[in-house]
Symmetry: C2
Subunit: 354 residues, 2 copies
Amino acid sequence: MKIKELQKKLREKGIDAALLYNMETNEENPNMRYLANYKGYGFLIVPAKKRPFLVAPLMDIEYLLKSGMKFYLMKKNFMEKIKKKLRNPRKIGVEARNFSIFALKKFRKHFKAKFIDVSELIEELRITKTKEEIKIIKEASGITNGIINRCIGNFGKFRTEKDVERFLKIECIKNNVEPSFNIIVASGISPATPHHIPSNKPLRRGFCVIDFGIRYKGYCTDVTRTVFIGSPSEKEKRMYSLVLSVQEKAIEKIKIGMNYSELDDFAKKEFGKYAKRFIHSLGHGLGIEVHESSMLYDKNQKIENGMYFTIEPGLYFPLRFGIRIEDDIFIHRGKVIDLTTVSKQLVCIKPKNF
Amino acid sequence: MKIKELQKKLREKGIDAALLYNMETNEENPNMRYLANYKGYGFLIVPAKKRPFLVAPLMDIEYLLKSGMKFYLMKKNFMEKIKKKLRNPRKIGVEARNFSIFALKKFRKHFKAKFIDVSELIEELRITKTKEEIKIIKEASGITNGIINRCIGNFGKFRTEKDVERFLKIECIKNNVEPSFNIIVASGISPATPHHIPSNKPLRRGFCVIDFGIRYKGYCTDVTRTVFIGSPSEKEKRMYSLVLSVQEKAIEKIKIGMNYSELDDFAKKEFGKYAKRFIHSLGHGLGIEVHESSMLYDKNQKIENGMYFTIEPGLYFPLRFGIRIEDDIFIHRGKVIDLTTVSKQLVCIKPKNF
């Protein structure tokens, strides 16, 4: 996506080429995935003026073909090949976030160029989604809503947090998708920990937080619902309503051009005396990665058309309980679209062993 | 594991502290997982002389508690806290592979120290496994063998490569483990591509390569078996026997003290005129990561007690067929232990739709 826009930016900055690579980790490089639809090993070279190409080992040929990009197979002296193609570049863009010091050292041996960080140039492109991306994201949300609805619908059958996790994993397999992060299912006092690890202990009375998302055609969703096991007290109902109202008000508040931090501040304020129990940020960017950089690193990020992010206020009372409600929001032609259609009414469940 | 050995190495090299961190990616930092049994966000600080500690956000409290390490919660000015604890370090070790240029820049602002790459110091520690690791690895292999045996036993029921993949994924869920990498199931001409992506097309006559591994308690396995769909010709049987004999001979050849590259060269030689059809390396280190660095980066790595790696020769004939056989090997007290007990006799299968 948007590889031509990157080339334009490179020309504007007087950078001869961007050099992305993935050789050290066992994961894909999200920027290579984004720009070249490539998820294998190797290099992506984006000259400012000529056609971009991949250089990768033969064993990743299917990923190369799937990408639709021009490519060369990685042979001995492939660095020389890249050098020749780039004709003595003086300024090379690299990704400071995905590029290790180790790689930089290696590259300095081959290129007598100045290395410049272009991560932001690339990641800025990723902030607003294209038509193709929007199509995928909507499909991904549809699948996610279905899975969570079925999960809540079947909740009475689960005995442990692990049961819930297993159900969600099997739903992923049935839908030919992957979970986009480690599934969180937290019952009893566990929801007080936002990153709880599902356990084999019986589900307990109280709030149960289910935080789950999928990766579909490369794109992530991330949704949280909190259900109640047993019958909630008046206070518990009030606390749930508070989180829900902050979430709904924050979504209503979203406007193009406003700073994301304003939204975050607004939510903190709405929690009133409970603000200190809201221990994380209101949300984060979504896309190729489940946590995308824009909002994580820059609170002054302005809300724009094409942005895709979460709104997920929560309250956490250590050793007592926790509540979180998270929707995936997409901004389309000035409108705020809540992609998460799963009901937010507090569902009260009586599981098998309860 | 071995955090004290790292401290000893730091002292020997005159490095005041090693600083590992994981704030940018959505994955765990394998070295933090290794040294501190920690898989959340945050920092691991290993002073050369004092007690190591983690600094992480409150939301990762469960991972912090699970690690058993000393820790501080990440608050404003946490960098100042780290600085104070380290008392003006002059030399700080960072991981050149997992440490981004971005992070380095940030750290330089806070520390007026010399930054030195200690990735190799740490990754050297990971090459030979401890008693605790061996125990986990053996259990992981047992689970993997069971899953692959059941997969081959059920092969007649599968219609597509995706069916096989789904079966393996569901087995993972049943066994409470994760696949350690993208599962490969390649039938027809697809096994000619080592990194084939499972498709929805019907399984076809010919070799079918199944490359699968699990992650169990943090440790990876990686096993490949090639079955035959239909009845193999004499030539096909010969080609399979060739790969199998090279694999068995390579395993027999393993000796403590020999260079890993000798083993690789030996396998290439044994393939005779087919050597050029063996397009990847004979194997790779295993452990916390499914591809560990030792053997990938250093062909002169000597085979030692406690090493855990794959032996996986293969032959690849583009647009025709491919064969690969991969076992997980562990070196224990001078003995070569083949952890993969799944039979290597060529299994011929007649699937439903064939």
